[in-house]
């Protein structure tokens, strides 16, 4: 029998009519794939009406965060109507607070502003996940790993050697890509910045910070060289 593990459910609005719906969807995917892959699961919101009891039981069996594009709060209202109370309700327009204008609905038109907006929202969702887990998950119960959407698997990791042992960090290449996009040069003066960024997404043991600092800088140099920077 598999050991039960507390996971937070994240339900995004689909928000097809507005760019914030696309941001909500992409930020949710980022948390599932990269930021908190082992602590989160998701479910398609429309499944509450089209699916069965298992789907409708989702918010009762997981502490659940809804992520809505706008103040109509469809994900929150739909989840609470069909499944149960949510533990936290986030709204993209509130998280962005008037910033990041002119985002696009379709990924064909995505640019730097869209990418930044997705990061801001994803990091807020991840912080909320941490808060719920620290509080013990709220009123909801524990969901077994098999309860989750089979698609919520982590991104392939990048490997670094720490004190002679190989350590895999989920989504490391994506984190490095983000650092490159923001102009962080792969040089010793930025080693703390690289470590601090990775530490947002991966729990770096306090006793090994120096080893991680060096290993991550070397890995970032290799990544930058491969990217032609």
């Amino acid at each position: 029998m598999s050991e039960e593990k507390l996971r937070v459910g994240i339900i995004s609005c689909s928000g097809e009519e507005i760019p914030e719906g696309t941001i909500s969807r992409l930020a949710t995917r980022r948390v599932l794939e990269l930021l908190r892959p082992d602590q989160t699961v998701t479910l398609c919101l429309p499944l509450f009406l089209a699916g069965g009891e298992q789907e409708r039981d989702f918010a009762r069996s997981h502490p659940t965060i809804t992520v809505d594009g706008c103040d109509k709060r469809c994900a929150q209202a739909g989840t609470e109507k069909h499944s149960g109370p949510v533990s936290a309700a986030l709204v993209v327009t509130e998280m962005l607070n008037g910033g990041y204008p002119d985002c696009a609905r379709s990924s064909r038109q995505r640019g730097e502003v869209d990418r930044e907006a997705v990061w801001v929202v994803a990091e807020t969702i991840a912080a909320t996940v941490d808060q719920l887990l620290a509080e013990g998950g709220g009123a909801q119960g524990r969901g077994a790993e098999s309860d989750g959407c089979a698609c919520s698997r982590p991104l392939p990791g990048g490997t670094v050697a720490i004190n002679g042992e190989e350590v895999t960090i989920p989504g490391l290449q994506m984190i490095f890509g983000q650092l490159l996009e923001t102009g962080v040069a792969p040089e010793p003066g930025n080693a703390d910045r690289v470590l601090a960024t990775v530490a947002i997404y991966y729990p770096v043991p306090e006793a090994e910070r120096e080893a991680y600092r060096e290993a991550l800088l070397e890995a970032y140099k290799r990544h930058s060289a491969q990217a032609g920077v």
């Binding site: 995004s12 097809e16 009519e17 398609c44 429309p46 698609c151 919520s152």
Partner: protein, 138 residues
Amino acid sequence: MDPAQKVLVIPCSGIGKVHGLISREATYLVTDELAPGQTETLCLALLVKGDEQALARVRSQPCITVDGCPKACAQKNVTLVRGESDGAFQVLQVLKQHRGVQPGSASSLNEAGWTVARELAELVRDKVAELAGCEVTS
């Protein structure tokens, strides 16, 4: 159909697999590029919530659904509101003609994914033209 009425194209936007993203992007190709004057989209979540304005639009306008998987969430949600939709498409209809391709991920489409999305969008555009009884204009 009333030519002044726009056709609602409603994707499932499924968040778990690439198929949901293909349904979403195919919809934007129709509403933004292939038939912008004849079509518009609607947040499917509004139907799940039971929003009165959304329910009224679905009941009064022609509807085409675009689903990522056989669970057909978009089609089922629309059918619950108004009965059968005017057209129902699934990503797998097109994907099965491209056996073995990896169209991307739930977060982004690659070239093969965009090819599938565009072919699906063209099927939807043709259905819009059929409903309108004329050629659609981009």
